[in-house]
């Protein structure tokens, strides 16, 4: 039924997991890459391949946005209109795409070449606005570039859209802090080189030497102790002490233990894992080798969001290189230590960034968060002790073990060790990912690194930690970037995505866009989130269009507060906090909408 290449992918896939079902999501995505919509015939084939029922396959297809049963064009355009793109004119881009193609969302052109879709954050926040043609990113878009792109596509002259392409030459290299005089470069140190992702380059930077040293000379307790000393806190969003998390794994358990790297970066505004995967995948692999040794684990996975297919290819290639040199597999560095590492692709579901939903997804199921306790450290992947760590967290590990925990801790203030990559997006002069020491102030980050608020404008609001964190007013700009200080200021450090908004921004619209996102991404498991996010979305749409009622402001606040703290997983809270903070900090703006019967700032939403 499938080409030999795809069949080979399938057979490789099923060999990677202790449970065949784990192969389901990548398998469906690869099947779709070759055949298009997932027809009943494909479902049947996959079901039989993995010893599942067709229904078990269907339920999974229906959960992930990238999997489809409907036809798409040869070039499927996915335009992001989430917050960071929206702030930089994504609505215009989307309008242009609709206008030029004459298509409705989900519709395929008569010749079958183009189809269009409005999508949520795809991780191009610092190069916004962006769209994807199949798996290819097109970033820093302007209306002119869109016109050109559509013309190329119309002539079927599109770039290489093969899902296996590794190079995105059409997209600019993502900006980082290389040129800044006060740059602190640990994780991003190697990225300046053009071939930084290659194994040779990495080895030239003393790559894998730390892992070798650790494997040959340290035991698990010593590694964990060093990581505890470093003060490293999870870089995914929750900020839990990495050393402590590792310490929770029951060492005496007879079950296998698993390490999973969470590369499902999808918090709107966040794209800091992207350069780490793209430009220094070996750094991550080295971190995982050390982490696996600390956890006494012999099987690790890297779960990469489906939209990052080119990164999946890059990281998969790096893993192969590492295997070829004996850095992975049996008897690594001759140390007697074994570690199998496999990459795994998601298929479009924000919730899978939540660690237990990620594990469900990795087991080939719908990404429903699990009941906690038990926590993954005790009952995780396949019911076994599991640690899930973010890309950036794991990428920091080689540096900590190379130079010592205390050395790393000293970069930042107490309890906030090391450096962190912040994705600065929105209304700044130089959006980008910047690595700065923890404790750097928002002002330094925004003004020094990101070039300040775009010329001729004033700062209005900042979302300091990704879309899930409360919105701060401009006066909080001198807050240091530590978990505690940002909390004191009324928000959360979250994923380190700093979204900057100037005075042209309609806060009602911001809240509307974010609410739309959570309503789209709510898994539907629990009642308050499933029903509440959609209710808020509907009110916001009506309100922003000028059909608001006086009582809607309190109603929104009340609905958000009834979601807050009542849901099965943090997505509910994440949907509520921006709304609550928007109303609390910008209530007058809501009232102005009522007075005018329309958005007072709509006219200002133009491309930068």
């Amino acid at each position: 039924m499938f080409s030999p290449q795809t069949e080979e992918k399938f057979s490789k896939l099923v060999s990677r997991y202790p449970s065949k079902r784990s192969a389901l999501i990548p398998m469906l995505l690869f099947a779709q890459d070759e055949k298009g919509p997932l027809t009943g015939e494909i479902v049947d084939y996959v079901a039989r391949y993995l010893h599942l029922t067709p229904l078990e396959v269907e339920e999974v297809i229906s959960f992930y946005s990238m999997l489809t049963k409907k036809p798409r064009g040869k070039f499927h355009l996915q335009v992001c209109t989430n917050i960071s793109c929206m702030l930089r004119g994504a609505d215009k881009i989307w309008e242009r795409v609709k206008e030029k193609t004459g298509l409705k969302p989900g519709q395929v052109s008569a010749d079958g070449v183009v189809s269009i879709e409005e999508v949520e954050c795809m991780g191009a926040c610092t190069t916004a606005p962006a769209l994807q043609v199949n798996y290819d990113f097109y970033e820093n878009l302007t209306v002119e570039r869109v016109d050109q792109l559509l013309e190329d596509l119309g002539r079927r002259k599109g770039p290489d859209t093969s899902p296996d392409s590794e190079q995105m030459e059409s997209s600019p290299r993502r900006r980082h802090d290389a040129e800044h005089p006060r740059a602190t470069r640990l994780l991003t140190a190697g990225m300046a080189a053009k071939d930084s992702r290659s194994l040779e380059n990495f080895l030239a930077r003393e790559g894998y030497q730390t892992a070798e040293k650790v494997l040959k000379s340290m035991n698990a307790d010593q590694i964990i102790e060093e990581v505890k000393k470093s003060g490293l806190r999870g870089r995914g969003g929750a900020g839990f002490s990495t050393g402590m998390k590792w310490g929770f794994v029951p060492r005496q358990s007879p079950k296998p233990k698993y390490l999973v790297c969470n590369a499902d970066e999808s918090e709107p505004g966040t794209c800091k894992d992207r350069p780490l995967l793209e430009y220094d995948p070996h750094q991550l692999i080295e971190g995982m080798i050390i982490a696996a040794r600390a956890l006494e684990c012999h099987q690790a996975y890297i779960y990469i969001r489906g939209e990052y297919r080119y990164l999946f290819n890059i990281v998969s290639r790096a893993v192969e290189e590492a295997y070829a040199r004996g850095f992975l597999g049996k008897n690594i560095f001759g140390s007697g230590w074994n570690l199998e590492l496999a990459t795994h692709t998601g298929a479009g579901a924000y919730i899978c960034g939540e660690e237990t939903a990620l594990l469900e997804s990795l087991e080939g199921k719908r990404g429903y968060p699990r009941i906690k306790p038990p926590f993954p450290a005790v009952v995780g992947l396949y019911g076994c002790p599991t640690v899930v760590n973010n890309v950036e967290t794991l990428s920091a590990i080689p540096h900590i073990l190379k130079n010592g925990g205390e050395w790393y801790a000293k970069f930042g203030p107490e309890k906030n060790g090391g450096t962190r990559l912040f994705s600065v997006s929105g209304h700044v002069e130089r959006p980008g990912n910047y690595e700065v020491p923890m404790g750097t102030t928002l002002r330094t980050l925004i003004e020094d690194f990101a070039g300040g608020v775009r010329q001729g404008h004033q700062l209005k609001a900042i979302i300091p930690g990704g879309s899930s964190t409360p919105i701060l007013t401009a006066d909080k700009i001198d807050t240091p970037l530590t978990f505690e200080d940002i909390a004191k200021a009324g928000s959360m450090l979250g994923s380190g995505a700093v979204i900057v908004m100037d005075e042209t921004t309609c806060i009602v619209n911001v809240a509307r866009v974010l609410t739309r996102f959570y309503a789209h991404e709510s898994c539907g498991w629990c009642v308050p989130c499933r029903e509440g996010t959609v209710w808020m979305r509907k009110i916001f749409n009506r309100y922003h269009d000028g059909f608001g009622r006086k009582e809607d402001i309190d109603l929104l606040d009340s609905v958000a507060k009834k979601i807050l703290g009542h849901t099965h997983c943090p997505l509910g809270d994440a949907s509520a906090m921006p709304v609550i903070s928007a109303i609390k900090n910008f209530r007058s703006e809501f009232e102005e909408h009522l007075k005018l019967g329309a958005c007072p700032l709509e006219k200002n939403l133009v491309a930068v």
Binding site: G40, A47, R48, H51, L52, T53, P54, L55, E56, V57, E58, E59, S62, F63, S65, A349, R366, I371, A519, H520, E521, S522, C523, G524, W525, C526, V527, P528, R530, E531, G532, T533, V534, W535, K538, I539, R542, E551, L555, S558, K562, G565, H566, T567, H568
Partner: protein, 770 residues
């Protein structure tokens, strides 16, 4: 004693076993915490958030359904934040709910409605457009209405965890999620448990929808009479018509469970094919007659035949479908009034051989009942196909696997569905089950020889035996494949196993066990005493006020032989249809012989619901009442006695067999046979039958389910070979499936309509190798 923890809920100090969930601890102590998704014994969801409670020292409200009680925990279930959270959940649930209660089937017995009345806001602040999806018919009998669904996933779990069917799963994401079937029809066993377990009106049944309102119905909890497991089923009745059957309060030993027959197979009761009046053959034709004409006709003819040919020229067949009281009266009639032991019935489970093998042992320790399966840690199933033939037994086996981590071992000649739950199995050549058991018990053959004979490898056989040798407290269930001497072997082998193994013989019909217990047999009296046992004869004679024959009677095959030879001239057949054509064409000559024999009779009397193949040959046909029109008791395959409650007044001119027998006895001159209720008969049984000593009418009335133990005999059976020879003539019903249970089910339009789905399911399971 297990470890306990002490905690405080709403200022009440309570102590519960460690590991108890907060929601259970509260409920057990009279504090009700509302919930939708929490169902005891199914996996935890924490999805509905209705059970949010306040727990001291935790910053957020906690869901009581996943919170494990800890020592010193202080919880509040009625504080302001809790009440507000509940109201919020209900308000959220109602935003996209259609609020079509006035037309919804569930209105009046809907958990969402009840909760909204009790805890919810009286109004809604939701003014937006609701999400809507059209209603869908997903199977011949099931409809799914997505807007009403609150996504509690109960149906998904009962279908997967309870039934091991997995026909329902959530489809879509977020607010667009529905409970889906994947494609246009439901690939399932049509059990309909999803309908019962649905807290709202999202899943409804073809036979009930839009017919009535729940408050217009009367409810009668009774026992399903389609198989030997004895599920409780509640008949919903309006205007003397059964509108539906379900287990609406999830009580009884089946709790969440009913199979397709128990739920949908009641519609034969109101079938227009039912016999409407007694029939008497006049000039070669069966003509309607009055009851008194028909009964007197039979009494007169019986008297003549007995006078001419002696009592042994008359015989009777009872039925595993009749109540204990009816079977008891039938054998009493034959023994006391006719004076013969020519009485038998269609036997399936070999309880007699089991009884004989257990002589001198405490049967209460050695026998297994249907409830005990749930607690078993090791289970062995020999023969049969519990999924289709013993649905509750199969459900309980799955329960034990799911909740107790039980290990299941299967010996079968077919790839039955239960193999999916098996920790070990032997797939042997059909008909070799007894040889395998003989090998296990005696090891008279070499391993290689035994393995070759049963069609397995020596390694497989050896490993299987080793596994079982280590299986403590093994629960052994065996089908009719094991009968006669094989039962003896099985019991002998079981005594060598560790712990306290228990046994259950699986049988085919609702009262197979009861019919045996009541002595509907040519060899033994009620209580499994041999028919020549002087002590029992004396005791029964005194109680019955007469003398009883001590000659062995004829078994069913022997009676047919005697009919053919002309020595048996009169025959009473109650609730049996021996002329029914066999499913197996190879048996057609046997069928023809049976019909020829019945035709030779001078008098054939049949009592049945329908004009069966046998009734068509009869001289007199009595229209019998169905299970819904009569009261009495039934004994399931595990020996548990339950009460059949009368839900309908007799339809047409039908009468319960209890009344027919009494009337017949009186017509035969036994004027001391008074028309007494079943309770009086049961009291007599409890007095005279040592195995039923503990069965009291009042305990049954209280809803208790007493467990009987075959007999209390201490002596070995005098001639076990005789029992085993008789067992050899047992004919397990080969035509049974999930949708069929003999002649009654064949008159159920719903079951007949669903019948073809059995093959579809088999193909489905085969195809996806689940």
């Amino acid at each position: 004693m297990a470890e306990t923890v002490t905690l405080t809920i709403n200022d009440k100090v309570i102590t519960v076993p460690a590991g108890t969930l907060l929601i259970e601890a509260a409920r057990q102590n009279g504090i009700h915490i509302p919930s939708f998704c929490y169902v005891k014994d199914l996996s935890l969801q924490a999805a509905c958030r209705m059970c949010l409670v306040e727990v001291e020292k935790t910053p957020k409200l906690q869901v009581a359904c996943t919170t494990v009680c800890t020592h010193g925990m202080v919880a509040r279930t009625e504080s302001k934040p809790v009440i507000e959270a509940r109201r919020a959940v209900l308000e959220f649930l109602l935003t996209n709910h259609p609020l079509d209660c006035p037309v919804c089937d569930k209105g009046g017995e809907c958990e969402l409605q009840d909760m909204t009345f009790k805890y919810g806001p009286g109004t809604s602040r939701f003014i937006e457009e609701k999400e809507h999806q059209p209603e869908e018919q997903v199977s011949p009998i099931i409809f799914f209405d997505a807007p009403r669904c609150i996504l509690c996933y109960r149906c998904v779990r009962i279908c997967d965890e309870g039934m091991d069917v997995k026909a329902l799963e959530p489809i879509g994401r977020g607010v667009k999620t529905i409970i889906g079937t994947g494609h246009d029809t439901l690939d399932c066993e049509d059990c309909g448990n999803c309908i019962d377990i649905c807290p709202v009106g999202a899943i409804t049944s073809e036979e009930y929808r839009y017919k009535t309102r729940p408050w217009e119905l009367k409810y009668y909890g009774t026992v399903c009479t389609h198989c030997s497991n004895g599920c409780k089923t509640t008949l919903s009745v309006r205007n003397n018509t059964i509108i539906r059957a379900n287990n609406r309060d999830r009580t009884g030993m089946n709790e969440d469970f009913l199979c397709v027959k128990g739920r949908f197979g009641f519609d034969y009761v109101g079938s227009s094919d039912r016999l409407k009046t007694p029939l008497v053959r006049r000039q070669e034709r069966l003509e309607p007659a009055t009851w008194s004409e028909a009964v007197q006709f039979v009494a007169d003819r019986l008297g003549e035949i007995r006078k001419a040919g002696g009592p042994d020229s008359i015989g009777a067949l009872g039925s595993p479908r009749l109540t204990n009281e009816e079977n008891y009266l039938l054998q009493k009639f034959m023994r006391l009034i006719v004076g013969t032991n020519n009485i038998d019935h269609h036997r399936t489970g070999d309880y007699a051989s089991l009884e004989a093998a257990l002589a001198r042992r405490d049967r209460r320790e050695a026998l297994l009942n249907v409830d005990q399966i749930k607690e078993a840690r090791n289970i062995l199933v020999i023969g049969d196909d519990p999924t289709t033939q013993q649905p509750l037994v199969a459900f309980n086996i799955r329960f034990a696997v799911r909740r107790r981590g039980a290990r299941v071992f299967i010996i079968n000649s077919k790839r039955i569905k239960l193999l999916r739950k098996a920790a070990g199995s032997l797939l042997l050549t059909a008909g070799k089950e007894a040889e395998l058991v003989a090998f296990l018990a005696h090891h008279e053959k070499s391993l290689e020889q035994a393995a070759a004979e049963i069609g397995e490898t020596p390694e497989a056989l050896k490993n299987f035996e080793m596994e079982l040798r280590g299986a403590e407290d093994l629960a052994i269930l065996f089908g009719a494949e094991i009968r006669g001497n094989a039962v003896n072997d099985l019991v002998e082998w079981a005594t060598t196993l560790p712990g306290a193994p228990r046994l259950m013989a699986l049988s085919d019909f609702a009262n197979s066990r009861g019919a045996m217990d009541m002595g509907v047999s040519p060899l033994w009296l009620p209580g499994y005493a041999p028919v020549h046992d002087a002590h029992t004869l004396e005791q029964l004679g005194r109680a019955w006020n007469g003398t009883l024959p001590n000659r062995k009677g004829l078994s069913q095959p022997e009676m047919f032989k005697a009919m053919g030879e002309g020595t048996l001239k009169g025959m009473l057949i109650f609730g049996a249809n021996p002329a029914e054509p066999s499913a197996n064409p190879a048996d057609r000559s046997v069928d023809n012989d049976a019909v020829a024999a019945l035709k030779k009779l001078e008098l054939l009397v049949v009592s049945d619901l329908f004009l069966t193949e046998t009734a068509k040959l009869a001289d007199v046909v009595f229209p019998a009442a169905s299970f819904a029109e009569k009261a009495g008791t039934m004994t399931n395959c595990g020996g548990q006695v339950q009460r059949l409650q009368r839900a309908l007044l007799p339809l047409f001119d039908a009468r319960p067999d209890l009344a027919i027998l009494t009337e017949l006895a009186r017509a035969c001159g036994a004027l001391d046979w008074l028309h007494v209720p079943w309770t009086e008969v049961l009291k007599e049984i409890a007095r005279l039958h040592p195995g039923y000593a503990g069965v009291s009418v009042s305990s049954l009335m209280r809803g208790e389910i007493p467990c009987t133990v075959l007999s209390a005999r201490k002596e070995a059976w005098p001639d076990a070979g005789e029992l085993h020879r008789l067992a050899a003539s047992m004919r397990p019903n080969t035509s049974r499936s999930l949708y069929a249970s003999g002649s009654l089910a064949s008159h159920s339009p719903t079951l007949v309509q669903l019948q073809p789905r059995a093959a579809v399911q088999e193909a489905f399971v085969e195809k996806y190798q689940m």
